[in-house]
Symmetry: D2
Subunit: 317 residues, 4 copies
């Protein structure tokens, strides 16, 4: 369903969790239900699969392929766009995943910088991205910028420099960082048909003010409805309302950060909020705090007594 001349990716994109069985095997049957939940309860119509939230880098290549197939297959005719993240430490694996995403019917692919061996300059990283994108030349390609996770301190603006010549299918980036000088320079650089998606959910409003035309994040799995209201308030010029909504989101995230949030906790919360059985994280992690603590902490803020949405801002996307 996708091609580089496809529809521009805008608005909210949920960075999806990966459902696992209690034994740690990928749990494909949950995905169809997951898609229905996003559409019906959160109003979110785009997904970013096998990214940081989806623990893509902790899964085997085979697992990632099966997940991509399921999301593309079940999402067909329902979701607007399924973006498959194909970045990993090995260039060959990334290319393999890119080719597979094209076959599976993805609407676009994205890749993060390798982080064990860090590229020494922006040109080196751009070349890596080029070799990945070239494995699926008919799919829109997005660069996934998340320096706090990768430890790669290159400016996104430097990575973009001339990238349209090296990667004809380049269509934008997911910027998960707090350097809004760099972000603003990216906004200035990008032509209007590229997507500039902001990825730090707790300061989405700042990203919008600086020119983002969409957002990718893990909280949009369970706070998608509220984030859509924020987007609408911003678009209609009601900054006061947008700020009120942003501060509500911040209250949740700020509390979550103090709990030392990681994928394990984030995933459990999504399970609670959605009623979906997402299972444990893919790798050993410290036991998350019992959900009761989260409920209690929320109470004084006067929010409804339902399940509590939270997020790890260090791992958003």
């Amino acid at each position: 369903m996708a091609s580089p001349v496809g529809k521009k990716l805008t608005g909210l994109v949920a960075a999806t969790f990966t459902p696992l069985t209690p034994e740690g095997e990928i749990n494909l049957p949950v995905i169809g239900l997951y898609i229905d939940y996003l559409l019906e309860h959160q109003g979110v119509r785009n997904v970013f699969v096998n990214g940081t939230t989806g623990e893509g880098m902790s899964l085997s290549v085979e697992e990632r392929k099966k997940l991509a197939e399921e999301w593309c297959g079940k999402g067909k005719g329902k979701l607007e766009q399924v973006i498959v993240h194909v970045g990993c430490m090995s260039l060959k694996d990334s290319q393999d995943l890119a080719r597979h995403a094209a076959e599976a019917g993805a609407d676009g692919i994205a890749a993060v910088s390798p982080s064990v061996f860090k590229p020494s300059d922006a040109g080196v990283l751009r070349q890596f991205l080029q070799e990945v994108a070239a494995a699926a030349p008919d799919l829109p390609f997005y660069y996934y910028h998340i320096p706090a996770l990768t430890g790669v301190s290159l400016l996104a603006r430097d990575v973009l420099d001339g990238i349209e010549k090296q990667i004809p299918s380049f269509r934008g980036l997911k910027f998960s960082g707090g350097d809004l000088l760099d972000f603003g320079q990216c906004v200035s650089y990008c032509p209007s048909d590229w997507s500039v998606l902001y990825g730090v959910d707790e300061q989405l409003l700042a990203g919008l003010a600086m020119g983002a035309n969409g957002a990718v994040g893990s909280t949009y799995n369970y706070l998608g409805s509220r984030a859509r209201s924020l987007l609408t308030a911003f678009e209609t010029g009601d900054l006061t309302q947008a700020r009120t909504l942003q501060f509500q989101v911040q209250d949740v995230i700020s509390y979550a950060v103090k709990l030392g949030f990681d994928v394990a906790v984030n995933k459990r919360l999504m399970s609670e909020v959605s009623g979906l059985d997402l299972g444990p994280p893919s790798a050993p992690e410290a036991l998350p705090p019992p959900p009761g603590r989260l409920h209690r902490a929320e109470a004084p803020r006067g929010r409804p007594a339902g399940p509590v949405p939270c997020q790890n801002p260090k791992r958003d996307g």
Copy 2:
């Protein structure tokens, strides 16, 4: 002229440079001219003296006192507010400077966290600020938060917690950092008569969107006029124009960052833009690049041929 019930500090505040003679002595006679320049050419009516831009921490206590006297004396009846930064490594020195600022007629004082011996938690820092503020209890007191410079990673929101009980004269903070979750939480916490001033000039628009009611920075010495236009555009709801102005500022700062900007360069540029003779920095620094290079670099961007405004975003404030 000041008291804790004085006028709320809002809008633009120039973090002033310290004029020196070629021999490195403070050059007091320049200050009167400097004030006139800010008022007449930049439309800036508030100053933040002896802060980071003013190299306060590199000056002796005596030098800082003379500077504070001159700014307060010459600014009287002209400037709206003169905020004197009194933070230094020694608590006794900071208290001495606070008492002196009151005598000199300052409209407020501010203090940064000590950075050689870093406070181990927010309560320790709050106690330090309390002991400084108590030396000038009739002056509005502001906390100056600049974690990248001090290396103190405490959240500003945690420092604010209950600070109104410990420091009756507390009136707000200058937030020079990129963590807008922390910043937003500060905005939420502060009562409406406190000042929440943002201090990262290159992303002022993001700070405004998140609720800042003013800004302190070094670029407002020479880009004050443009920044005022940005503020006006934001206040009138013209985000597109605000963003255009912000991107113009970013172009200058982004270029400056690539030159490895520091106080020496920043100061030389202010000298060029303003025609004031600000002299060298107070401590040995690498020789700044010849100004000609800066002029040339600006040319292709099509800006007017006048002097070139630049700034070091790492040292703004």
Copy 3:
């Protein structure tokens, strides 16, 4: 040839490079020659395969298996011990590689901490290591500690705590870090039949003084002979001679660091020193400086005119 009751791993261990063809495919036929070179020219009889120097984390699982098979097969009867590094981002892949190493006849396996999703405490990491080790319970297992590369700041001593109960096959660690308080505490903790191998080549002498009983590093591929002399001098109590040799090694590494060394350069140098055709690195990297520059730079130090051995201390192991 291996079992947990096998011979204790001591002395020098070369962290091997991975030979590639110009097209970037693994070049297995070089490995037999490589083994002969290590034995005959450097006197090194132990290897650490698919580690950081070998770019293990940038290779696909299949490539790593083929490399392990070749090193174990060709090394049989020649090398004393072949340790196969099986750590990667995916637990399943690591377990797969551990099982394979046992089948391939490795003398031991090692694993680094996952670094995209960092373990939140030492217990979480220990559990990850346990699940890897359990996939090859008859092979000696080593923890590979390299915090500067992984960004995991856990103390090695905390990871070791009680590890013998969780991992019966545990036999020691490769410590590639500069925190010699942590290192000393590890030395104190380890029983005498475990191996405590130091991994920062440029300060091997410090590691020995603190109690290391061996060393793993990339420079031992081409500086092995000199490092063996250093070990001998230390063991015979001739600290002055050991220091002289250490300083010679430091001169080379210090120079290399200034060139911004990475695997690409390191690999090219090994190619030059050894005459083996190791090829390019496995992922795009900045072009290394022409070797001529390295030769010239060395000249003033009066070393022989032969090829120049260098190393990247950030990636040693």
Copy 4:
């Protein structure tokens, strides 16, 4: 008593604490007793005054002068060398302190890099040191390298480059860092009549192995006797005994680090061990844990039941 042709500084140097009254005023009468304690109970005959341990950077210039006078005056004829640290954020203040140290009869002066405005390269820092040293040209001058505290990441070896031409009175450095490549390069560079003093107490043995000819640290105030035994064991070639002693020191420091040690705790411990009344730290700090906890923790290790020596390795010197 001092001159640049004076006796080379070697062996143990105690980085002294600053005695304060409960009200936070400097408590000069304690210093005479302090000197007697160091000589009689620890066998330490050299001191480093107003450094990090002494909280020099938190004291006013006047306080530092009085302290220097007292140490020099009371130490005369008793101590071998009194080195006065004169580094502070202000060049003028540092020069003032240097001149004063000469008048007070110090045997040498030392200075750390300014850390609020960090020197942009080694030449800039060298020029700063030159201007400080020139204020007391007849006193041996030492560079105090402590990158973890200052955040200045320049290599000490680069700072030393050609320093003997710029600073005729230069006589060595105190190296408080873990980069033993840099340290080894300094050892190689320094002529035999310079002092190369290592400043990380928990890995003193590594520093000695790499060529240190002395040590400066806070633990030598209360662990001086044991550290002298370590030095003796090392000098007589008994590395096993030296390592045993080093590990004993590490046990104490490792425990202390887990308590989150800072000057407050370190100072209280020295008070307990020595019986001297050193008072609180000079600035607000978190309350130290009750000493009882420290005593208990020590007990199982079988050390004598006396007061417990501890240290903050992040602040040694």
